[in-house]
Amino acid sequence: MPEVARPLRVGVDGETTSDQARVLDELAFSLYLNGRHFMAAMTAPDRLSALALGLLLVEQAIRAQSEIESVQEDGPCVRVLTTDPFRVIVPRRGVITGCGGAVSQISERRLPPLPSIVPVQREDVFAALDLVAAPPEGLFSAALRAGDGWSVRSDDLGLTTAFARIIGVRATETVLHDRVIGAVSHRVTAELIRAAVVAGVPVLASTGPPTGLAVEFAERTGLTLCGQGGRGGFVCYTHPERLLL
């Protein structure tokens, strides 16, 4: 983390001192797909190619890493070319707006089915939660842990980018890791449920509680959602049949 010179520390009593204090790294990330601007995000400047790949996967712009011809990191920009750069890519709409825009709902209809129910060990959920139990100060952590012990973690300014990055890392793995459990620090939202389902992650655990919409969406999509996890235990909100207790 960079340090900023001469920041002013203000005490509760109004006393001010000049101090050395930490700040977080942040980068205005731009992702281009086949020459078109795909999205921008504020993110930690870490493994940008993996982040790009993960974002393209969870946004369903591509289905697999094999569709990619090249990934060019160019400062804060990552440019991705697919093997068929002239194919029309229709953005998938995760949130569907109803008549007149008065109502909207998150839709699971365009999501791929999750892998068939393969039981995961209770201990593996705890091991995944361990990975995100203590995120660096000011950051969010996301991790994946597979049944074979393989794991990856990302710390970022937001959970969405942290989670996308680990999905990107997993996509470049040459070994297929199954029985994958996702874990995030803090809370799980429906948006993360959607990303996990697209990425084929059947179990998602968090240190904090999930949102109500996340629980509803996890139920509909067949994802096993655990929350409020720590060494003392966790709460399984949906599809406990996947857990070997």
Partner: protein, 868 residues
């Protein structure tokens, strides 16, 4: 030339001479030009029976039918039976159907059994009362019979005619007395002709034996057709054992199988018709470019291996006017090695078939399926009737040809009839086809070519290929798929050291850039610019990885010459600096250094040894502490020597000198690891690497040189008083680069990596040894190539005693479509060193070269020697 056929009226069989073996005398039947006559084999017999029964009911049709072909729009044959004219069998290329018209002479044998197809003019209300002489006239009738050939009955006489649109054309009316003739089979015909067949055989064998000693060896030219099958049997009786068959690549599978069963040597095709036709257009009877390409060139290769020979062939007078004057022996006008003997030149097809049957010789099964002549399945000499047979029994072969014709027809703006009626078979249409076209209002040019009915179509947008499609499966490890290289269809390309050919994926990548995202790089935010920029960047990544140059700086240039010049021009030279180079160098790796002498730089040129290898000791002596740079070729473009660069790099390191390696001839042909080599600079060309022309690469361990050019794209910032150069390779690439070329070069690298450079090198080493061995065996050839296969690349230089190298190259190009380089190869100092003021002939290989290329070259060189 015999113009009549004899017929035994007692046995009711045809005779090939006047007498019948049963002791009878035959009566002559006048034949039609070109006087060839043949039996109706099963499919033809069934066809005739079917057509006759369809028109006239289940009338008796003799077992022995003869077909006497004659001129017409397409198939047009007089059918002979019972010693007389039976009818006419023809094919309509417009309606795509066979027709049969009965002759009046056939009526006595079948009139009693006729159940339909009769127009009785005595009872026809429309004709009643008409009083005209009927022969050859058209008269109105009200018959319900379908249009076509009919039997006409009138006033107790019978005749034949053609009914069309309610009008009847009567051919002839004669009194007809029903008659019953014997109906022998072909076994009887053979028996009655056996003495004549024995005589024919004896004469033919004698002819062959007479000429067997005319040349050192003898063989049979076997096509898989009936004539050469007969000749093969005769030649074997005469003691000739060798037979060869030239596979044009357009052969029926049945033919190939039959040829192999007969034990003939199959000469592989050297060219690819379907590649060549894309450039040359459809061949024609009057434009037979394909024969030269697919038959004569392979024959030259074969004869170069056999040497002077007598070739027994099955050509006959009756086949065509061209062959009507054939002598017993004839010198092959295209090849002085071959004396042709034609022992059955005076046989008609009937004699051939009777001989095959008499001797119970196996023959090509396609004859029983309706083919009269065999050869290439899309030969322009083929009738449309036969083409329909091809479509019936081998639709997959017809489909491929028709797909081409459809494209050609559309792109040339020609009417569909060009393809559907088989008009592609002539460049300039003959009279009969001109009349056909005029009848159907098809416009012709003054040269009697079919006129376009719309402007020729511009090439349509090609389907966007994948950026780096994998190459087609290679035939062997290290070999590229020749089908990927359009030029190889009709060309033997052995000038790859000058410029290599580009495969389809490279062409596709360049065209895709031009058609779908042509834009400048690094200067725009729009989508096309983004695409072009990324592909350009990716191409550099690929090239860098290809030479294991990650960590260095890889700059795109126009070619090796520019890459070397960039270093020579960009380093800051001081008087007294020394540059060491060698006599092996291409001018591009010599002249930039010689020019430095004007700056006070000392340039030392190291010699080679007698083995054409660099004199390493001399080099070691030349490198001293003043030496700033050593510039050597990795492989000689003129004599193929490989330089031990690792050893040179060690010498350079010892003296603190930089090492520049000219990799123009090595990078495209062998695995190159620039880090392992120890080079500081590596220069090579894209156009020798299967990439586009105008592409080259300079790899630098450190980007020390100053840029050759300054301008847009090369700078980070510019002020009124100066500029800051951009980081990385961009600083060396001022101005708009060859974007499409670089992208194509990236595709070329992908292509070679897919084949595998280790395999490419191993195969080229083997092919080079084959070439060296072949050239060594030719008298008058002097080779300039290192002896050790591991110390040379696929570049072989040679001279031919009595010939200027240009003369040899010109001959090979003109006569055999073999492309080789001749002259000094931009290596004048080396040529002088070798005492070669005229230079050499140079053959150079690549991953698409094959043994057939080499054999064709060797055959051409041998021809030169014989012509000296």
């Amino acid at each position: 030339m015999k113009k009549t056929l004899y017929w035994c009226p007692d046995c009711n069989v045809p005779l090939i001479a006047r007498s019948c073996a049963a002791g009878h005398e035959g009566v002559p039947i006048q034949l039609l030009e070109p006087y060839d006559v043949r039996p109706a084999l099963k499919t033809d017999h069934d066809l005739i029976v079917g057509l006759v029964h369809e028109r006239f009911g289940p009338v008796p049709v003799p077992r022995v039918l003869l077909l006497n072909k004659t001129g017409g729009v397409d198939r047009n044959e007089l059918v002979i039976a019972n010693g007389d004219r039976f009818g006419w069998l023809s094919f309509d290329p417009v309606e795509r159907q066979h027709r049969f018209e009965l002759e009046p002479a056939a009526l006595p044998g079948l009139i009693e059994a006729v159940t339909k197809g009769v127009v009785d003019l005595d009872r026809d209300p429309a004709f009643a009362g008409t009083k005209i002489r009927l022969g050859g006239k058209r008269v109105a009738v009200s018959s319900d019979e379908p249009d076509g050939g009919v039997i006409v009955k009138y006033r107790g006489r019978f005749g034949t005619g053609v009914l069309a649109d309610g009008r009847l054309r009567v051919r002839e009316l004669v009194p007809v007395t029903p008659a019953r003739c014997p109906n022998p089979g072909w076994d009887v015909v053979i028996d009655r002709n056996r003495l004549h067949l024995k005589n024919l055989e004896r004469q033919a064998v004698r002819t062959i034996r007479t000429h067997l000693q005319d040349r050192p060896c003898a063989n049979v030219s076997f096509s898989g057709g009936k004539d050469s099958t007969a000749v093969l049997a005769l030649a074997r009786r005469a003691g000739v054992t060798d037979a060869f068959f030239i596979d044009t690549g357009l052969e029926f599978p049945e033919t190939i199988e039959f040829v192999k069963a007969e034990g003939a040597q199959v000469i592989e095709k050297g060219a690819d018709f379907f590649q060549a036709v894309e450039r040359a257009g459809p061949p024609g009877k009057d434009n037979r470019w394909c024969c030269k390409l697919l038959k004569l060139h392979p024959l030259k290769r074969h004869l170069a291996a056999t040497g002077p020979c007598v070739t027994i062939q099955g050509n006959r007078w009756y086949e065509s006017w061209n062959r009507a004057g054939l002598d017993e022996t004839s010198q092959n006008p295209n090849n002085p090695l071959q004396l042709n003997v034609s022992p059955i030149r005076h046989w008609r097809a009937l004699e051939v078939w009777l001989y095959l049957w008499w001797r119970e010789l196996p023959y090509n099964p396609l004859y029983e399926q309706g083919f009269e002549r065999l050869g290439c399945y899309l030969c322009p000499a083929m009738l449309e009737a036969e083409y329909d047979e091809l479509r019936r029994i081998h639709p997959e072969l017809a489909d491929r040809w028709e797909a081409f014709l459809a494209r050609y027809t559309a792109s040339s703006g020609l009417p569909e009839e060009f393809r559907r009626w088989g008009l592609w078979r002539w460049k300039s249409l003959p009279r009969k086809m001109v009349e056909l076209c005029r009848t159907h209002d098809l416009a012709l040019t003054p040269e009697y070519e079919l006129a376009p009915i719309r402007p020729p179509a511009a090439p349509g947008p090609a389907p966007a290929p994948a950026a780096t499609p994998p190459p087609a499966a290679p035939a062997e490890p290290g070999a590229a798929a020749r089908g990927d290289f359009p030029l190889l269809g009709d060309t033997v390309y052995l000038d790859s050291a000058a410029t290599s050919l580009s495969p389809e994926p490279v062409l596709g990548a360049v065209l895709e850039f031009e058609r779908h995202y042509r834009a400048n790089i690094g200067r725009g935010v729009h989508r096309l610019s983004q695409l072009a920029s990324q592909r350009y960047w990716h191409a550099r990544e690929k090239v860098e990885r290809f030479v294991h140059g990650e960590g260095g700086t890889t700059v795109f240039t126009r070619n090796t010459t520019e890459a070397i010049e960039l270093v020579a021009h960009g380093l800051s030279w001081q008087p007294g600096d020394r540059v060491v180079t060698t006599v092996l160098e291409h001018h591009s790796n010599l002249l930039p250094w010689l020019r430095l002498r004007a700056l006070g730089v000392e340039v030392v040129v190291v010699d080679i040894g007698d083995d054409l290898a660099l004199d390493l000791d001399g080099l070691a002596s030349a490198i001293d502490e003043r030496t700033r740079l050593v510039a050597v070729t990795h492989a000689s473009n003129a004599v193929g020597s490989i330089t031990p660069v690792v050893e040179v790099a060690r010498l350079c390191r010892e003296h603190g000198a930089r090492l520049l390696v000219d990799g123009a001839q090595s990078v495209p042909h062998m695995p190159v690891d620039v880090t392992a080599l120890g080079a500081d600079y590596l220069a090579f060309s894209g156009h020798k690497l299967l990439g586009p022309t105008g592409t080259g690469v300079l790899w630098m361990r450190e980007p020390e040189p100053e840029p050759l050019l300054l301008g847009g794209g090369a700078v980070e910032s510019v002020g009124p008083d100066g500029w800051t150069l951009a980081a990385g390779p961009a600083r060396y690439e001022a101005g708009t680069p060859n974007i499409g070329g670089a992208i194509g070069l990236g595709a070329a690298v992908d292509y070679l990596e897919a084949i595998g450079m280790d395999a490419v090198r191993a195969r080229e080493e083997r092919l080079t040894s084959r070439l060296v061995k072949g050239l060594e065996a030719i008298e008058g050839v002097r080779l300039y190539a290192p002896e050790d296969p591991a110390r040379r690349i696929g570049v072989v230089s040679f001279t031919l005693e009595g010939f200027h190298p240009h003369e040899v190259a010109q001959y090979l190009s003109d006569e055999l479509n073999v492309m080789v380089r001749s002259g000094h190869h931009c290596c004048e100092p080396l040529m002088r060193r070798l005492g070669l003021p005229d230079g050499t002939v140079r053959a150079s290989l690549h991953c698409y070269s094959n043994e057939i290329d080499l054999e064709t070259l060797l055959a051409g060189v041998e021809e030169c020697v014989r012509g000296a």
